[in-house]
Amino acid sequence: MPKKNNMLITDDGTYVNKKDTHSMMFVALCRVLTFALIVLGLIAFITGNM
């Protein structure tokens, strides 16, 4: 059987694809960073112009 790095064998012998989980985590990380950057940018702009 070919080796699949994104799969694991559960106790009852079925395969679980972790690719979707990785994608969701990556999308969540990107969104958190985007939001954090926007907030930081707004604070920097407001405090810099005071």
Partner: protein
Amino acid sequence: MYDLKRRMYEVVEASGVGDASSKAYDILMATTIIVGMIPLTLRKDNYFTMAIEIATCIILFIDYCARVYTADYKMGYKSFKAYVAYIFTPLAIFDLLSIVPIIYLFLPVSSSIGLLKLFRVFRVVKLIRYSKTMVIISNVFRKVKTQLVAVVILIVIYIIVAAMLIFQFEPDLFRNFFDAIYWATISITTIGYGDISPQTDVGRLIAMISAVMGVVVIALPSGMITAAYINEINKKKTKYEL
């Protein structure tokens, strides 16, 4: 088979339809570029601008490393030469220049080191990747590149000749030759600030010729770019209709 490198390439390139990871990454990069420009709108750095600088440079550095790592997919062939060739492409050079401002955070403050901050403007070029409209515009400029270069050379020659003439006929008007170049540029582009105005008849004649030349020469590239842009739009429309 889950190929991590291929997937990384798909994510860092501009997103296709239905690719949520790539779209989220594109939004993050576009936000990074725009937020990274905010310190340029402020007179002094503060704690938050330093934090923006560090965060944006780290994200852009990771992006650059990912793009270099997947350069063999980008260039279309698997070889060490693909990586080297990619590093010297225009967008890769702009990517590298946009990371340069981080250096000034680690070096002693001086006026020359502070100029590194200006490299932040190169980040705007990166936005080309993430906007379909910008891709169209860059295609348009690529198509009319030869004609544009010819017109720009004509304009530069005229500016230098006009500057030399006015510098000789109005020596009291200009501190140095750069002022004459400045005046010739402002005249030919028909902006005419009025801060420097010729006083002699010959000087005014040169100014009149510059104004007329300006109307003709500045209209040329506008027409070329507009025609090429319309062709590009029509080509895309035809492609979708077929």
